[in-house]
């Protein structure tokens, strides 16, 4: 079993929809949780960085972590065609050090 499991895609939504992306993890030592966005043939870029449980909002993006259920979510409001990309969740035990990634969910937002 992988330490970080991500809902498989692909996901296709109309422009303006609310998107929910989800992951679960099994390692109780994970304390830091990230969401990355990866455009085709590019490296991932960090979107959200959360420590422990709770919500974090940044513009149209909201990250949620529920450590009791080991559940990680990313919500995108008012989705735009430019949000079309692969989204990767990741977790780590310490602030600096290796991250463990999910397999990614490919999102397409149709105009």
């Amino acid at each position: 079993q992988k330490e970080v499991e991500q809902d498989p895609g692909p996901l296709s939504v109309p422009e303006g929809a609310i998107v929910s992306l989800n992951c679960t993890y099994s390692n109780s030592a994970f304390q830091y949780f990230m969401w990355y966005r990866q455009y085709s043939r590019k490296g991932p870029e960090l979107l959200m960085y959360t420590y422990s449980s709770g919500n974090k909002e940044d513009g149209r993006f909201t990250a949620q972590v529920d450590k009791s259920s080991k559940y990680i979510s990313l919500f995108i409001r008012d989705s735009q065609p430019s949000d079309s990309a692969t989204y990767l969740c990741a977790s780590k035990t310490t602030n600096a050090g290796k991250s463990t990634f999910g397999d990614g969910t490919t999102l397409t937002v149709k105009p």
């Binding site: 970080v4 991500q6 043939r41 590019k42 490296g43 991932p44 870029e45 960090l46 960085y49 990767l88 990741a90 602030n95 600096a96 050090g97 290796k98 991250s99 463990t100 990634f101 999910g102 397999d103 990614g104």
Partner: protein
């Protein structure tokens, strides 16, 4: 400023040959990571360098894989006697060790082993 750069961007090699992949991190970044991404999958951690500390090599899949970081800057990932299952995108990231560590990724090297 300049981001993380990697070279070559693409590499095609024959099974059994050795390859070297290069990563130039962002200037001043003390941490450097190598990850591997197979088609349609997430990133798999390979190795982590932090300053002068001993590297975390726990992700290297076999002794055919090795990495060096010279002068705390440029890093080279070497794969000896390449196999077809080594075909993947090899990604490098660098970061500053701070309260909220942000890893900045390069564009990757696409390796194809025939």
């Amino acid at each position: 400023g300049a981001g993380v750069s990697q070279s070559p961007s693409n590499k095609v090699t024959e099974k059994g040959k050795d390859v070297e992949l290069r990563c130039d991190p962002i200037s001043g970044h003390t941490a450097l990571y190598w990850y591997r991404q197979s088609l349609g999958q997430g990133l798999e951690f390979l190795i982590y360098f932090q300053g002068n500390s001993a590297p975390d090599k726990s992700g290297l899949p076999s002794d055919r894989f090795s990495a060096e970081r010279t002068g705390g800057s440029v890093s080279t990932l070497t794969i000896q006697r390449t196999q077809q299952e080594d075909s993947a995108v090899y990604l490098c990231a660098s970061s500053l060790k701070r309260e909220r560590e942000t890893q900045y990724f390069g564009p990757g090297t696409r390796l194809l082993v025939l």
